[in-house]
């Protein structure tokens, strides 16, 4: 079974981002998707802290502490990019102006509920940042995550047990084992890695999982 590594997962997500899309890549794993976006396509990266047209990390020594991304890492601005304040930045998200946002998750329910901000542990210090705004704002919300947690339990679930970030908001989940489309009728599998069967995937997730492999057209 050819489980995808994190770079392969990022590359797989990148394949589904069309030219001209306005995209927000969440902190952590989703940020790496930027490395796999095709150089010959213009794709607009937005960062919640007030920039659109985000470019790659600067060369060593060119970092500017006032030009950072949502993860507070130094970035650059492309020609044609611009800056704006937090009100406008979150209007972009909440107002449905972003085409795609890519987020990590602790759990996603088969109908698209997202849990990615809080483990619910009693001693955890809660922190939400822009996760709830991104979850409900973008036209499409993609999640990328490993399908199983460290205990081997599926993170794609019937109902989330972790505190929710947003309801019915995730449209697609990219994992190391399969890609799922989510909707009111539950999850359907649109891709699997070689050597994995739908039956095995149903067993891993404990979900019904419709077979959507034929009917789905992946945007280029």
């Amino acid at each position: 079974m050819n489980r995808l590594d994190r770079e392969q997962m990022a590359a797989r997500v990148a394949r589904d981002i069309p030219e001209g899309a306005y995209v927000n890549l969440g902190i952590g794993l989703p940020t790496t998707v930027a490395n796999f976006l095709p150089a010959d396509k213009e794709i607009f990266l937005q960062s919640e802290n007030g920039l659109l047209g985000m470019g790659p990390a600067p060369a060593k020594g060119d970092e500017d502490p006032e030009l950072i991304n949502a993860g507070k890492q130094p970035v650059t601005l492309l020609a044609g990019g611009c800056y704006f304040h937090h009100g406008d930045s979150f209007a972009m998200m909440r107002g449905g102006h972003l085409d795609i946002c890519v987020l990590g998750a602790f759990q996603v329910s088969e109908r698209g509920d997202l849990a990615n901000w809080h483990t619910g542990a009693a001693d955890a210090i809660p922190a939400v940042g822009g996760a709830m705004d991104l979850a409900i704002g973008a036209k499409q919300v993609f999640v990328m995550m490993e399908l199983l947690n460290k205990s081997g339990d599926s993170k794609l679930v019937a109902e989330c047990t972790y505190p929710l970030t947003g309801l019915r908001c995730v449209s697609r989940v990219y994992t190391d084992l399969a890609v799922f489309d989510l909707g009111p009728d539950g999850a359907s599998v649109i891709e699997m890695v070689d050597g994995l069967s739908l039956e095995a995937l149903r067993k891993l997730t404990g979900l019904v999982l419709r077979d959507g492999r034929a009917s789905v057209c992946i945007p280029e």
């Binding site: 659109l52 047209g53 909440r94 107002g95």
Partner: protein, 227 residues
């Protein structure tokens, strides 16, 4: 390569449909996208709902659209002006519907649409005819009226300069409703004096980021005065 600039003003408005809700920028004639309106008249779409601060001045722009009888309803704050005779005549004849909105509520409702809010409690208009029948609430000792967002299918706006990604800067008080309408419409079409190369607009001074703009049409008639 993404290029939102369109050479012909006719092509820019070609998909406006009958019954569309259209925001039109401008405060009086300042910032009114006259070339886009001319194209809209030529295009022929009818039964439109127009959202603008006024209801047309003189014979051109929005006034000409009204005169052509393409507008079913207008949402505005200040229809009555010395030269709003086309609106006046239609209104008195019962041939156009008017939704009168205090100017700040007009702006706030447009902003609410752009920002994805479901409704806002605004103090403006409380206790007046324009809040008749609307939900009100006292919050922290002050009275507010519940107002809903104003969305649109299209926004036709005028800006000073734009680039192929749709970034816009405006000129003086022609800015007015342009930036907030751009955020509230599904498809924003900007008439600009000139389309400049990518990177020519100062990223600190861009007023409307390109994400809010779908089409840019250069008219080549930018004022080159002081600014």
């Amino acid at each position: 390569m993404i290029d939102k600039s369109i050479a012909a003003v006719e092509a820019a408005v070609a998909d406006v449909f009958d019954g569309a809700r259209i925001m039109i920028g401008g405060f009086g004639t300042a910032g009114m996208p006259d070339r886009l309106i001319d194209a809209l008249i030529a295009h022929g779409a009818k039964d439109l709902t127009i959202i603008n601060n006024n209801a047309g001045n003189g014979e051109t722009g929005l006034a000409a659209l009204l005169k052509a009888r393409r507008v079913r309803k207008i949402v505005c704050s200040f229809p009555r002006q010395t030269d709003s005779h086309h609106f006046d005549a239609l209104y008195r004849a019962g041939e156009i519907e008017l939704e009168l909105v205090p100017q700040g509520n007009l702006a706030a409702r447009i902003q609410a649409a752009g920002a994805g809010l479901g409704a806002i409690f605004t103090p403006t208009g409380y206790g007046t005819l324009l809040a008749d029948g609307k939900e009100t609430r006292e919050i922290a000792g002050r009275h507010y009226v519940l107002e809903y967002p104003l969305h649109a299918d299209f926004a036709l706006i005028k800006a000073h300069r734009g680039d192929r990604w749709g970034n816009l800067v405006y000129r003086k008080t022609a800015r007015n409703f342009g930036p907030i309408m751009a955020m509230a419409a599904k498809c924003t079409i900007a008439q600009v004096g000139e389309v400049v190369p990518l990177g020519a607009l100062d990223p600190e001074a861009v007023v409307t980021p390109g994400i809010f703009v779908q089409r840019v049409v250069a008219t080549g008639d930018a004022r080159r005065a002081a600014a």
